[in-house]
């Protein structure tokens, strides 16, 4: 028997077999089950359940707040990455390590502490609420929590790119007469753009699925501060399986589309790294 590809190392059958078995049991079968159940509802019923007023309000909040949080993360994440890579200042190593804190912290704890901070008696809330900035039980609170959980993505995506930026390009721009601002806008920013977009998309995708931190800080008021995942849980508790599954499939479709976009973005960004 002639094999087309010769694999010199052993263990392919064993590891591949185990991998496929594990993935099937944990991912593919449950996913298939969900999609199969979703097919039991007629398309008309599916559309009706997916576009109820409450569902539409939940989508608006989920996607709107995620978008705002991702933009905030893009801005501050770029700033943070720039400052961490380019400058030396006391506490730089500490902040660099702490950037991963939202990634490591359980989302429930994040929601709990942020809700407490921005509540009227909280450390920040006692100053902000009299100014009209209500962070807890509002959609602003949702944006704040999503900014927190998404923060590491932009910073960690930009840091390697910034570290590999060649200074001589900036020197060339300066020697040709560009001001520092002009150099940043015309030379540095375009180089960062692919990585920034990737970080933005990752932050956005993370924010859409986020559940734990939101349920503490938003108050979960229907039509006002109820996110789509929370609505799914509500439907489950009412034993409205069809409704819950419909919403889940809508979220899944959007997640997959976003995942495809992220893949394309990452491939585009990699082209500039070579």
């Amino acid at each position: 028997m002639v094999r087309r590809k010769f694999n010199a190392l052993p263990g392919f059958g064993l590891t591949m077999g185990f991998t496929l078995f594990y993935l099937s049991a944990v991912v593919l079968v449950p996913l298939g089950g969900l999609l199969l159940r979703a097919c039991e509802t007629s398309p008309a019923e599916f559309w009706r359940l997916a576009t109820t007023d409450r569902a539409l309000a939940a989508y608006k909040l989920t996607f709107g707040a995620s978008g705002c949080a991702a933009v905030a993360n893009a801005v501050f994440g770029t700033l943070l990455a720039w400052v961490l890579v380019r400058y030396e200042f006391p506490g730089r190593r500490f902040i660099d390590a702490m950037v991963d804190f939202p990634f490591a912290l359980p989302t429930a704890v994040a929601g709990l502490t942020l809700a407490n901070l921005f509540a009227p008696q909280g450390w920040l809330g006692q100053f902000l609420v009299p100014l009209g900035i209500k962070g807890a039980y509002t959609s602003l609170g949702v944006v704040i929590a999503l900014t927190f959980v998404g923060m590491p993505f932009v910073v960690r995506t930009l840091q390697p790119v910034l570290e590999n930026l060649e200074r001589d390009v900036e020197e060339a721009a300066a020697s040709l007469g560009a001001s520092r601002l002009r150099t940043f806008v015309s030379v540095i920013a375009p180089t960062l753009m692919p990585a920034l977009l990737t970080g933005f998309a990752l932050s956005f995708a993370r924010a859409i699925g986020e559940y734990g931190s939101i349920v503490f800080i938003s108050g979960n008021l229907p039509f006002k501060t109820e996110i789509a995942p929370y609505l799914i849980v509500m439907r489950l508790e009412e034993y409205d399986y069809a409704g819950a599954i419909t919403l889940a499939v809508v979220l899944l479709i959007f997640s997959f589309v976003l995942l495809a976009c992220i893949n394309v973005l990452e491939q585009w960004a990699n082209k500039f790294q070579r």
Partner: protein
């Protein structure tokens, strides 16, 4: 300040004359804004957890943690992590070995499937298992007939946690294994080692940092998972409440200091995870420097 004639200088304030650095005013303004942002969004929430946990004093903190239901939650969290993390390590090693050391068609599809839990909302993940194993699910009546419970019981929590956390180890190991390539393993095999010996003595030492980092990330996520576990657990106090769920329950009972007490343990876990990660990165950098120095010294 463009067009200034430059001298050969190293870094420092001269760099601003070279035109490659901002003026000190801008620089320190940016640093101040970045530090303020970090303080508000990173440090303040962390400090607040501990401040609120001890708000009613040390005795209350102690009693909150030793409450039987909280202690049951801690035990359950540890149990779930103790089951899911080793399983996921096994999977991660197997998948990384298959993906990094062999060529086959469908590899990118496999990697995409492995990345799936990152793009699926935790609630949707939990719902998937309810649809499969819940009373009205596909296997529901079979399970009920055999008096087995997966949903609203510990196996469901383990399953949901495994789903959410299995990519972590694999994603850490695949790049590392791909970077080391297959030459060392092939050399070992020509010297007569079998597969297991090769893996144990050649592969494992080269991936140890990635493996440790993957394990601690996987563990941190496994202990802290909320959304997926919330859907499958049934919130039965003392039985199917993990630590994050216990935090929610205490909070909903208006017992904020107790909620923060349990949360403080989870925050400590996060800090420990960060600490191990930083230490490992430092050690890895040291090893790299030492190997660079060795290869420099070895040059004739």
């Amino acid at each position: 300040m463009a067009g200034t004639v430059t001298r050969k200088t190293t870094v420092g304030h001269r760099a601003s004359q070279r035109g490659t650095e901002e003026s000190p005013v801008i620089k320190w303004l940016l640093i101040a804004v970045a530090l303020a942002f970090s303080a508000v969004f990173l440090l303040l929430p962390l400090i607040n957890v501990f401040a609120q946990a001890f708000a009613k004093g040390l005795a209350y903190y102690h009693d909150s943690l030793w409450h039987p239901d909280s202690w049951a939650a801690i035990r359950l969290t540890l149990l779930v992590a103790a089951i899911s993390v080793p399983l996921n390590v096994l999977f991660g090693v197997a998948a990384a070995w298959a993906i990094a050391k062999f060529e086959f068609r469908g590899k990118s599809l496999l990697i995409t499937v492995i990345d799936l839990p990152f793009s699926v909302s935790p609630v949707v993940a939990g719902l998937m298992f309810v649809v499969l194993f819940g009373l009205q699910g596909f296997f529901g009546s079979w399970l009920d007939a055999h008096d087995l419970r997966i949903i609203y019981a510990v196996p469901g929590i383990v399953l949901a946690t495994v789903f959410i956390t299995f990519p972590f180890v694999a994603r850490e190991l695949i790049p590392v294994m791909q970077a080391t390539g297959t030459e060392q393993e092939q050399a070992a095999m020509t010297l007569g080692a079998n597969g297991w010996q090769t893996f144990w003595h050649v592969t494992l030492p080269s991936i140890k940092w990635g493996l440790v980092y993957g394990i601690i990330l996987c563990n941190a996520r496994a202990m802290g998972e909320f959304g997926a576990v919330s859907v499958v657990s049934g919130h039965i106090t003392g039985q199917t409440d993990t630590m994050p769920l216990r935090v929610e329950k205490l909070y909903n009972e208006y017992n904020a200091p107790a909620a923060f007490a349990v949360a403080s343990l989870l925050a400590l876990l996060a800090l420990l995870t960060l600490g191990v990660k930083t230490y490992m990165e430092w050690k890895q950098a040291r090893e790299y420097e030492r190997s660079q120095a060795d290869s420099e010294a070895a040059k004739p």
